[in-house]
Symmetry: C2
Subunit: 274 residues, 2 copies
Protein backbone atom coordinates (compact mmCIF):
# COMPACT_ATOMS: atom_id res chain seq x y z
CA UNK A 1 0.00 0.00 0.00
CA UNK A 2 1.19 3.51 -0.71
CA UNK A 3 0.02 6.76 0.83
CA UNK A 4 0.55 9.97 -1.09
CA UNK A 5 -0.88 12.30 1.59
CA UNK A 6 1.55 14.95 2.77
CA UNK A 7 3.49 15.01 6.02
CA UNK A 8 2.66 18.10 8.08
CA UNK A 9 5.50 19.86 9.88
CA UNK A 10 5.27 22.86 12.15
CA UNK A 11 7.60 25.05 14.13
CA UNK A 12 7.35 28.32 16.04
CA UNK A 13 9.15 30.03 13.17
CA UNK A 14 11.89 29.36 10.66
CA UNK A 15 14.19 27.10 12.71
CA UNK A 16 12.14 24.03 11.83
CA UNK A 17 13.28 24.39 8.24
CA UNK A 18 16.48 22.65 9.37
CA UNK A 19 14.31 19.62 10.23
CA UNK A 20 12.35 19.91 6.99
CA UNK A 21 15.59 19.99 4.98
CA UNK A 22 16.73 16.74 6.63
CA UNK A 23 13.31 15.17 6.00
CA UNK A 24 13.29 16.16 2.33
CA UNK A 25 16.80 14.75 1.95
CA UNK A 26 15.85 11.47 3.64
CA UNK A 27 12.46 11.08 1.91
CA UNK A 28 12.69 12.79 -1.50
CA UNK A 29 9.36 11.40 -2.75
CA UNK A 30 7.21 12.52 0.22
CA UNK A 31 5.00 15.61 -0.04
CA UNK A 32 5.32 18.02 2.87
CA UNK A 33 3.48 21.06 4.24
CA UNK A 34 5.39 23.30 6.63
CA UNK A 35 3.83 25.84 8.98
CA UNK A 36 5.97 28.50 10.69
CA UNK A 37 4.05 30.43 13.36
CA UNK A 38 6.02 33.61 12.70
CA UNK A 39 3.29 35.80 14.24
CA UNK A 40 3.81 34.30 17.71
CA UNK A 41 7.47 33.25 17.60
CA UNK A 42 9.39 32.55 19.88
CA UNK A 43 7.88 29.81 22.07
CA UNK A 44 10.95 29.03 24.20
CA UNK A 45 10.23 31.64 26.86
CA UNK A 46 6.45 31.14 27.04
CA UNK A 47 4.44 29.06 29.51
CA UNK A 48 3.72 25.39 28.85
CA UNK A 49 -0.04 26.03 28.69
CA UNK A 50 0.33 28.75 26.08
CA UNK A 51 2.67 26.54 24.04
CA UNK A 52 0.08 23.73 24.15
CA UNK A 53 -2.64 26.11 22.91
CA UNK A 54 -0.43 27.39 20.10
CA UNK A 55 0.49 23.81 19.11
CA UNK A 56 -3.17 22.77 18.87
CA UNK A 57 -4.06 25.76 16.72
CA UNK A 58 -1.06 25.15 14.45
CA UNK A 59 -2.02 21.50 13.98
CA UNK A 60 -5.58 22.54 13.10
CA UNK A 61 -4.30 25.09 10.59
CA UNK A 62 -2.20 22.41 8.86
CA UNK A 63 -5.12 19.95 8.77
CA UNK A 64 -7.37 22.66 7.31
CA UNK A 65 -4.88 23.00 4.45
CA UNK A 66 -5.29 19.39 3.35
CA UNK A 67 -5.18 15.75 4.46
CA UNK A 68 -2.05 14.64 6.29
CA UNK A 69 -0.71 11.18 7.11
CA UNK A 70 1.58 12.30 9.94
CA UNK A 71 2.36 15.42 11.96
CA UNK A 72 5.98 16.22 12.78
CA UNK A 73 6.59 18.74 15.54
CA UNK A 74 9.89 20.31 14.49
CA UNK A 75 10.08 22.55 17.56
CA UNK A 76 11.83 21.21 20.66
CA UNK A 77 9.85 23.42 23.03
CA UNK A 78 6.52 22.16 21.65
CA UNK A 79 7.78 18.56 21.55
CA UNK A 80 8.77 18.77 25.20
CA UNK A 81 5.40 19.98 26.52
CA UNK A 82 2.62 19.46 23.97
CA UNK A 83 2.96 15.97 22.44
CA UNK A 84 0.37 14.29 24.72
CA UNK A 85 -2.20 17.03 23.96
CA UNK A 86 -1.53 16.79 20.22
CA UNK A 87 -1.72 13.00 20.23
CA UNK A 88 -5.00 13.11 22.11
CA UNK A 89 -6.49 15.71 19.76
CA UNK A 90 -5.42 14.20 16.43
CA UNK A 91 -6.22 10.90 14.76
CA UNK A 92 -2.95 10.78 12.78
CA UNK A 93 0.47 9.84 14.25
CA UNK A 94 2.36 12.73 15.87
CA UNK A 95 6.15 12.66 16.09
CA UNK A 96 8.34 15.11 18.04
CA UNK A 97 12.08 15.74 18.09
CA UNK A 98 12.83 14.76 21.70
CA UNK A 99 12.64 10.96 21.44
CA UNK A 100 14.76 10.73 18.25
CA UNK A 101 17.40 13.04 19.79
CA UNK A 102 17.46 11.18 23.10
CA UNK A 103 17.62 7.80 21.31
CA UNK A 104 20.64 8.89 19.29
CA UNK A 105 22.41 10.20 22.38
CA UNK A 106 21.69 6.95 24.24
CA UNK A 107 22.92 4.87 21.27
CA UNK A 108 26.16 6.88 21.17
CA UNK A 109 27.35 5.05 24.33
CA UNK A 110 28.11 8.41 25.95
CA UNK A 111 28.43 8.30 29.72
CA UNK A 112 27.91 12.05 30.09
CA UNK A 113 25.42 14.02 28.00
CA UNK A 114 24.80 17.77 27.87
CA UNK A 115 21.44 19.10 26.66
CA UNK A 116 21.42 22.63 25.23
CA UNK A 117 17.90 23.99 24.77
CA UNK A 118 15.43 26.81 25.36
CA UNK A 119 14.23 27.71 28.85
CA UNK A 120 10.92 25.95 28.15
CA UNK A 121 12.55 22.70 27.05
CA UNK A 122 14.98 22.71 29.97
CA UNK A 123 12.18 23.42 32.45
CA UNK A 124 10.23 20.43 31.11
CA UNK A 125 13.28 18.18 31.63
CA UNK A 126 11.99 16.22 28.60
CA UNK A 127 15.37 15.02 27.31
CA UNK A 128 16.52 13.71 30.68
CA UNK A 129 13.17 12.00 31.30
CA UNK A 130 13.39 10.34 27.88
CA UNK A 131 17.02 9.26 28.44
CA UNK A 132 16.21 7.78 31.87
CA UNK A 133 13.25 5.87 30.40
CA UNK A 134 15.66 4.31 27.90
CA UNK A 135 17.82 3.20 30.80
CA UNK A 136 20.55 5.85 30.67
CA UNK A 137 22.35 5.96 34.01
CA UNK A 138 25.12 8.46 33.30
CA UNK A 139 25.30 12.19 33.88
CA UNK A 140 22.87 14.60 32.24
CA UNK A 141 23.50 18.32 32.44
CA UNK A 142 20.88 20.61 30.91
CA UNK A 143 21.51 24.24 30.02
CA UNK A 144 19.06 26.89 28.87
CA UNK A 145 20.77 29.20 26.37
CA UNK A 146 18.25 32.00 25.66
CA UNK A 147 20.64 34.14 23.59
CA UNK A 148 21.45 31.37 21.10
CA UNK A 149 18.27 31.81 19.04
CA UNK A 150 18.54 35.61 18.61
CA UNK A 151 22.25 35.16 17.89
CA UNK A 152 21.54 32.68 15.10
CA UNK A 153 18.70 34.87 13.80
CA UNK A 154 21.22 37.70 13.52
CA UNK A 155 23.52 35.40 11.53
CA UNK A 156 26.22 35.74 14.21
CA UNK A 157 27.14 32.05 14.29
CA UNK A 158 30.90 32.46 14.63
CA UNK A 159 33.41 35.02 15.86
CA UNK A 160 34.23 36.60 19.20
CA UNK A 161 30.69 37.50 20.31
CA UNK A 162 29.23 34.07 19.51
CA UNK A 163 32.11 32.31 21.26
CA UNK A 164 31.85 34.55 24.33
CA UNK A 165 28.13 33.78 24.62
CA UNK A 166 28.80 30.05 24.24
CA UNK A 167 31.40 30.30 27.02
CA UNK A 168 28.96 32.31 29.15
CA UNK A 169 26.25 29.64 29.11
CA UNK A 170 28.42 26.55 29.03
CA UNK A 171 31.13 27.53 31.53
CA UNK A 172 30.22 24.71 33.87
CA UNK A 173 29.66 22.02 31.24
CA UNK A 174 32.81 19.84 31.42
CA UNK A 175 34.88 20.15 28.25
CA UNK A 176 35.23 16.36 28.46
CA UNK A 177 31.48 15.72 28.05
CA UNK A 178 30.87 12.81 25.66
CA UNK A 179 27.80 13.97 23.76
CA UNK A 180 25.91 17.24 23.37
CA UNK A 181 22.28 17.27 22.26
CA UNK A 182 21.45 20.36 20.19
CA UNK A 183 17.96 20.60 21.64
CA UNK A 184 16.66 23.51 19.57
CA UNK A 185 16.33 23.70 15.80
CA UNK A 186 18.44 26.85 15.66
CA UNK A 187 21.41 25.44 17.52
CA UNK A 188 23.00 23.31 14.76
CA UNK A 189 23.61 26.59 12.93
CA UNK A 190 25.75 27.72 15.87
CA UNK A 191 28.12 24.74 15.52
CA UNK A 192 31.00 26.91 14.24
CA UNK A 193 31.17 28.68 17.62
CA UNK A 194 30.26 25.60 19.69
CA UNK A 195 32.99 23.51 18.10
CA UNK A 196 35.61 26.14 18.95
CA UNK A 197 34.77 25.78 22.62
CA UNK A 198 34.41 21.98 22.93
CA UNK A 199 36.93 19.29 22.07
CA UNK A 200 36.90 17.53 18.71
CA UNK A 201 35.84 14.23 20.31
CA UNK A 202 32.42 15.47 21.48
CA UNK A 203 29.54 13.79 19.63
CA UNK A 204 27.08 16.43 18.48
CA UNK A 205 23.51 15.16 18.34
CA UNK A 206 21.29 17.11 15.95
CA UNK A 207 17.75 16.17 17.04
CA UNK A 208 16.30 17.44 13.76
CA UNK A 209 18.44 15.16 11.60
CA UNK A 210 17.69 12.20 13.85
CA UNK A 211 13.99 12.99 13.59
CA UNK A 212 14.09 12.76 9.79
CA UNK A 213 15.39 9.18 10.02
CA UNK A 214 12.88 8.36 12.77
CA UNK A 215 9.97 9.68 10.66
CA UNK A 216 11.04 7.55 7.72
CA UNK A 217 11.17 4.44 9.92
CA UNK A 218 7.76 5.21 11.42
CA UNK A 219 6.15 5.69 8.00
CA UNK A 220 7.60 2.37 6.88
CA UNK A 221 6.51 0.61 10.06
CA UNK A 222 2.97 2.00 9.75
CA UNK A 223 2.80 1.29 6.01
CA UNK A 224 2.38 4.96 5.18
CA UNK A 225 5.24 5.58 2.72
CA UNK A 226 4.49 7.24 -0.61
CA UNK A 227 5.21 5.41 -3.84
CA UNK A 228 8.88 5.64 -4.91
CA UNK A 229 7.59 7.21 -8.13
CA UNK A 230 5.53 9.85 -6.33
CA UNK A 231 6.22 13.43 -7.44
CA UNK A 232 6.22 15.34 -4.16
CA UNK A 233 4.72 18.79 -3.55
CA UNK A 234 5.94 21.32 -0.99
CA UNK A 235 3.90 24.07 0.61
CA UNK A 236 4.89 26.63 3.20
CA UNK A 237 2.44 28.41 5.47
CA UNK A 238 3.39 31.33 7.71
CA UNK A 239 1.30 33.39 10.11
CA UNK A 240 3.31 36.57 9.48
CA UNK A 241 5.77 38.12 7.01
CA UNK A 242 5.93 35.66 4.06
CA UNK A 243 8.47 37.83 2.23
CA UNK A 244 10.88 37.61 5.16
CA UNK A 245 10.34 33.84 5.22
CA UNK A 246 11.30 33.58 1.55
CA UNK A 247 14.37 35.77 2.09
CA UNK A 248 15.67 33.91 5.13
CA UNK A 249 14.75 30.37 4.08
CA UNK A 250 18.10 29.74 2.39
CA UNK A 251 19.89 30.37 5.69
CA UNK A 252 17.92 27.70 7.57
CA UNK A 253 17.13 25.44 4.67
CA UNK A 254 20.36 25.38 2.72
CA UNK A 255 18.62 26.74 -0.37
CA UNK A 256 15.69 29.11 -0.93
CA UNK A 257 12.25 27.49 -0.63
CA UNK A 258 10.18 27.17 -3.81
CA UNK A 259 9.02 30.65 -4.82
CA UNK A 260 5.28 31.11 -4.93
CA UNK A 261 4.67 28.24 -2.54
CA UNK A 262 4.70 30.45 0.56
CA UNK A 263 1.25 31.39 1.82
CA UNK A 264 0.18 33.76 4.60
CA UNK A 265 -2.38 32.02 6.82
CA UNK A 266 -4.71 33.23 9.49
CA UNK A 267 -4.31 31.08 12.59
CA UNK A 268 -7.76 31.28 14.15
CA UNK A 269 -7.01 30.90 17.78
CA UNK A 270 -7.35 33.15 20.70
CA UNK A 271 -4.54 33.50 23.18
CA UNK A 272 -6.14 31.14 25.63
CA UNK A 273 -4.58 30.46 28.96
CA UNK A 274 -6.80 27.89 30.57
CA UNK B 1 -13.20 69.07 36.98
CA UNK B 2 -11.44 65.92 38.04
CA UNK B 3 -11.39 62.51 36.35
CA UNK B 4 -10.59 59.45 38.44
CA UNK B 5 -10.73 56.96 35.55
CA UNK B 6 -7.53 55.00 35.10
CA UNK B 7 -4.88 55.49 32.43
CA UNK B 8 -4.41 52.35 30.32
CA UNK B 9 -0.87 51.39 29.34
CA UNK B 10 0.19 48.49 27.17
CA UNK B 11 3.40 46.98 25.88
CA UNK B 12 4.41 43.80 24.09
CA UNK B 13 5.79 42.50 27.36
CA UNK B 14 7.60 43.73 30.45
CA UNK B 15 9.73 46.52 28.95
CA UNK B 16 6.85 48.99 29.22
CA UNK B 17 7.11 48.79 32.99
CA UNK B 18 9.99 51.29 32.63
CA UNK B 19 7.43 53.73 31.17
CA UNK B 20 4.85 52.88 33.83
CA UNK B 21 7.43 53.52 36.57
CA UNK B 22 8.13 56.99 35.16
CA UNK B 23 4.38 57.69 34.89
CA UNK B 24 3.69 56.61 38.47
CA UNK B 25 6.55 58.79 39.65
CA UNK B 26 5.30 61.81 37.69
CA UNK B 27 1.59 61.31 38.51
CA UNK B 28 1.37 59.62 41.93
CA UNK B 29 -2.39 60.14 42.26
CA UNK B 30 -3.41 58.63 38.90
CA UNK B 31 -4.82 55.08 38.69
CA UNK B 32 -3.21 52.91 36.03
CA UNK B 33 -3.88 49.57 34.34
CA UNK B 34 -0.95 47.92 32.56
CA UNK B 35 -1.24 45.15 29.97
CA UNK B 36 1.84 43.15 28.92
CA UNK B 37 1.15 40.89 25.93
CA UNK B 38 3.60 38.25 27.14
CA UNK B 39 1.93 35.52 25.05
CA UNK B 40 2.93 37.20 21.78
CA UNK B 41 6.09 39.10 22.74
CA UNK B 42 8.28 40.31 20.99
CA UNK B 43 6.75 42.66 18.42
CA UNK B 44 9.98 44.22 17.10
CA UNK B 45 10.59 41.60 14.41
CA UNK B 46 6.96 41.20 13.30
CA UNK B 47 5.20 42.82 10.36
CA UNK B 48 3.48 46.18 10.69
CA UNK B 49 0.07 44.67 9.92
CA UNK B 50 0.42 42.03 12.64
CA UNK B 51 1.57 44.66 15.13
CA UNK B 52 -1.50 46.79 14.29
CA UNK B 53 -3.79 43.79 14.89
CA UNK B 54 -2.11 43.00 18.20
CA UNK B 55 -2.35 46.64 19.27
CA UNK B 56 -6.09 46.79 18.57
CA UNK B 57 -6.75 43.60 20.52
CA UNK B 58 -4.64 44.84 23.43
CA UNK B 59 -6.54 48.14 23.54
CA UNK B 60 -9.84 46.25 23.54
CA UNK B 61 -8.65 44.00 26.38
CA UNK B 62 -7.75 47.06 28.48
CA UNK B 63 -11.10 48.73 27.78
CA UNK B 64 -12.93 45.53 28.71
CA UNK B 65 -11.22 45.70 32.09
CA UNK B 66 -12.75 49.07 32.96
CA UNK B 67 -13.25 52.68 31.83
CA UNK B 68 -10.10 54.54 30.78
CA UNK B 69 -9.45 58.24 30.23
CA UNK B 70 -6.35 57.80 28.08
CA UNK B 71 -4.38 55.01 26.42
CA UNK B 72 -0.59 55.12 26.54
CA UNK B 73 1.29 52.90 24.11
CA UNK B 74 4.51 52.13 25.97
CA UNK B 75 5.97 50.10 23.11
CA UNK B 76 8.07 51.92 20.51
CA UNK B 77 7.33 49.37 17.79
CA UNK B 78 3.56 49.76 18.27
CA UNK B 79 3.85 53.55 18.58
CA UNK B 80 5.73 53.70 15.28
CA UNK B 81 3.20 51.75 13.20
CA UNK B 82 -0.17 51.53 14.97
CA UNK B 83 -1.07 54.95 16.43
CA UNK B 84 -3.35 56.03 13.54
CA UNK B 85 -5.28 52.73 13.71
CA UNK B 86 -5.65 53.00 17.48
CA UNK B 87 -6.71 56.65 17.31
CA UNK B 88 -9.31 55.82 14.69
CA UNK B 89 -10.68 52.86 16.68
CA UNK B 90 -10.87 54.49 20.11
CA UNK B 91 -12.81 57.45 21.43
CA UNK B 92 -10.25 58.28 24.17
CA UNK B 93 -6.91 60.05 23.56
CA UNK B 94 -4.05 57.75 22.54
CA UNK B 95 -0.44 58.71 23.27
CA UNK B 96 2.67 56.92 22.00
CA UNK B 97 6.35 57.20 22.89
CA UNK B 98 7.72 58.44 19.54
CA UNK B 99 6.55 62.09 19.65
CA UNK B 100 7.70 62.72 23.24
CA UNK B 101 11.11 61.17 22.47
CA UNK B 102 11.55 63.08 19.23
CA UNK B 103 10.43 66.34 20.90
CA UNK B 104 13.03 65.94 23.64
CA UNK B 105 15.78 65.19 21.12
CA UNK B 106 14.78 68.24 19.05
CA UNK B 107 14.69 70.44 22.16
CA UNK B 108 18.19 69.28 23.13
CA UNK B 109 19.65 71.43 20.30
CA UNK B 110 21.57 68.41 19.03
CA UNK B 111 22.80 68.70 15.45
CA UNK B 112 23.30 64.96 15.09
CA UNK B 113 20.91 62.38 16.54
CA UNK B 114 21.19 58.58 16.62
CA UNK B 115 18.07 56.45 17.02
CA UNK B 116 18.54 52.97 18.49
CA UNK B 117 15.45 50.80 18.11
CA UNK B 118 13.94 47.48 17.01
CA UNK B 119 13.92 46.42 13.35
CA UNK B 120 10.20 47.34 13.16
CA UNK B 121 10.68 50.84 14.55
CA UNK B 122 13.69 51.51 12.32
CA UNK B 123 11.84 50.21 9.23
CA UNK B 124 8.96 52.62 9.97
CA UNK B 125 11.41 55.55 10.16
CA UNK B 126 8.98 57.03 12.70
CA UNK B 127 11.54 58.97 14.77
CA UNK B 128 13.16 60.64 11.75
CA UNK B 129 9.75 61.52 10.27
CA UNK B 130 8.71 63.07 13.58
CA UNK B 131 12.00 65.00 13.91
CA UNK B 132 11.73 66.37 10.34
CA UNK B 133 8.11 67.45 10.97
CA UNK B 134 9.38 69.46 13.95
CA UNK B 135 11.87 71.16 11.63
CA UNK B 136 15.04 69.24 12.52
CA UNK B 137 17.58 69.66 9.72
CA UNK B 138 20.61 67.88 11.19
CA UNK B 139 21.84 64.32 10.78
CA UNK B 140 19.71 61.35 11.84
CA UNK B 141 21.24 57.88 11.90
CA UNK B 142 18.96 54.98 12.80
CA UNK B 143 20.20 51.58 13.93
CA UNK B 144 18.24 48.39 14.51
CA UNK B 145 19.79 46.47 17.42
CA UNK B 146 17.91 43.13 17.58
CA UNK B 147 20.16 41.56 20.23
CA UNK B 148 19.64 44.38 22.76
CA UNK B 149 16.24 43.12 23.98
CA UNK B 150 17.30 39.49 24.58
CA UNK B 151 20.49 40.78 26.18
CA UNK B 152 18.53 42.94 28.63
CA UNK B 153 16.07 40.10 29.25
CA UNK B 154 19.06 37.95 30.23
CA UNK B 155 20.16 40.66 32.66
CA UNK B 156 23.43 41.08 30.75
CA UNK B 157 23.45 44.88 30.80
CA UNK B 158 27.15 45.36 31.40
CA UNK B 159 30.42 43.52 30.90
CA UNK B 160 32.41 42.29 27.93
CA UNK B 161 29.58 40.61 26.00
CA UNK B 162 27.18 43.55 26.32
CA UNK B 163 29.90 46.01 25.27
CA UNK B 164 30.96 43.87 22.31
CA UNK B 165 27.36 43.74 21.08
CA UNK B 166 27.00 47.52 21.51
CA UNK B 167 30.20 47.98 19.48
CA UNK B 168 28.93 45.53 16.86
CA UNK B 169 25.73 47.45 16.15
CA UNK B 170 27.00 50.97 16.66
CA UNK B 171 30.40 50.73 14.95
CA UNK B 172 29.44 53.35 12.37
CA UNK B 173 27.62 55.73 14.71
CA UNK B 174 30.08 58.61 15.24
CA UNK B 175 31.32 58.69 18.83
CA UNK B 176 30.82 62.48 18.62
CA UNK B 177 27.03 62.18 18.05
CA UNK B 178 25.16 64.79 20.13
CA UNK B 179 22.07 62.86 21.24
CA UNK B 180 21.00 59.22 21.25
CA UNK B 181 17.33 58.29 21.43
CA UNK B 182 16.77 55.03 23.31
CA UNK B 183 13.91 54.01 21.05
CA UNK B 184 12.86 50.81 22.82
CA UNK B 185 11.67 50.43 26.39
CA UNK B 186 14.38 47.87 27.14
CA UNK B 187 17.29 50.01 26.04
CA UNK B 188 17.58 52.37 29.04
CA UNK B 189 18.48 49.27 31.06
CA UNK B 190 21.50 48.77 28.78
CA UNK B 191 22.91 52.22 29.62
CA UNK B 192 25.83 50.77 31.64
CA UNK B 193 27.25 49.19 28.46
CA UNK B 194 26.18 52.03 26.14
CA UNK B 195 27.83 54.66 28.31
CA UNK B 196 31.13 52.77 28.20
CA UNK B 197 31.18 53.04 24.42
CA UNK B 198 30.00 56.65 23.94
CA UNK B 199 31.50 59.84 25.32
CA UNK B 200 30.21 61.43 28.50
CA UNK B 201 28.84 64.43 26.58
CA UNK B 202 26.21 62.44 24.66
CA UNK B 203 22.66 63.32 25.68
CA UNK B 204 20.70 60.13 26.25
CA UNK B 205 16.99 60.51 25.47
CA UNK B 206 14.78 58.01 27.29
CA UNK B 207 11.52 58.11 25.35
CA UNK B 208 9.64 56.43 28.18
CA UNK B 209 10.58 59.10 30.74
CA UNK B 210 9.72 61.86 28.28
CA UNK B 211 6.37 60.19 27.64
CA UNK B 212 5.47 60.32 31.34
CA UNK B 213 5.89 64.11 31.32
CA UNK B 214 4.01 64.39 28.02
CA UNK B 215 1.09 62.35 29.38
CA UNK B 216 0.84 64.59 32.43
CA UNK B 217 0.78 67.70 30.24
CA UNK B 218 -1.87 66.18 27.97
CA UNK B 219 -4.11 65.24 30.90
CA UNK B 220 -3.81 68.76 32.24
CA UNK B 221 -4.48 70.33 28.85
CA UNK B 222 -7.55 68.12 28.30
CA UNK B 223 -8.81 68.65 31.86
CA UNK B 224 -8.52 64.94 32.67
CA UNK B 225 -6.30 64.97 35.78
CA UNK B 226 -7.42 63.07 38.87
CA UNK B 227 -7.98 64.91 42.11
CA UNK B 228 -4.75 65.55 44.08
CA UNK B 229 -6.38 63.63 46.92
CA UNK B 230 -7.24 60.61 44.73
CA UNK B 231 -6.01 57.27 46.10
CA UNK B 232 -4.75 55.53 42.98
CA UNK B 233 -5.19 51.83 42.11
CA UNK B 234 -2.81 49.75 40.02
CA UNK B 235 -3.68 46.65 38.04
CA UNK B 236 -1.48 44.47 35.87
CA UNK B 237 -2.80 42.22 33.12
CA UNK B 238 -0.65 39.69 31.27
CA UNK B 239 -1.55 37.26 28.49
CA UNK B 240 0.97 34.64 29.69
CA UNK B 241 3.02 33.64 32.74
CA UNK B 242 1.85 35.98 35.56
CA UNK B 243 4.30 34.43 38.04
CA UNK B 244 7.24 35.30 35.78
CA UNK B 245 5.84 38.84 35.49
CA UNK B 246 5.78 39.21 39.27
CA UNK B 247 9.33 37.83 39.57
CA UNK B 248 10.85 40.04 36.87
CA UNK B 249 8.89 43.22 37.57
CA UNK B 250 11.47 44.58 40.00
CA UNK B 251 14.11 44.50 37.28
CA UNK B 252 12.08 46.69 34.89
CA UNK B 253 10.08 48.60 37.43
CA UNK B 254 12.65 49.35 40.12
CA UNK B 255 10.56 47.54 42.72
CA UNK B 256 8.22 44.52 42.60
CA UNK B 257 4.69 45.27 41.42
CA UNK B 258 1.89 45.00 43.97
CA UNK B 259 1.36 41.30 44.78
CA UNK B 260 -2.07 39.97 43.97
CA UNK B 261 -2.73 42.70 41.41
CA UNK B 262 -1.40 40.64 38.48
CA UNK B 263 -4.11 38.95 36.43
CA UNK B 264 -3.86 36.48 33.56
CA UNK B 265 -6.14 37.63 30.72
CA UNK B 266 -7.38 35.98 27.58
CA UNK B 267 -6.73 38.26 24.63
CA UNK B 268 -9.54 37.30 22.26
CA UNK B 269 -8.00 37.96 18.92
CA UNK B 270 -7.06 35.77 16.08
CA UNK B 271 -3.70 36.16 14.42
CA UNK B 272 -5.16 38.12 11.56
CA UNK B 273 -3.05 39.22 8.69
CA UNK B 274 -5.32 41.29 6.56
Amino acid sequence: MVDSRAIGVFDSGLGGLTVLAAMRHAMPNESMVYLGDTARVPYGTKSAQTVVNYALSNAQTLLNHGPLKMLVVACNTVSSVALPALQEALSIPVVGVITPGAKAAFASKASSIAVLATAGTVASNAYEISLRQMGFTGTVISKACPLFVPLVEEGMVEGAIAEAIVEHYLADVPRSVDAIILGCTHYPLLLPALQKVFSARVQWIDSGKKTAIFVQQELEKQDLLASPSNTPTYHYLVSDAPARFEQLSAFYFGEPVEKGNVELVDIKASVENR
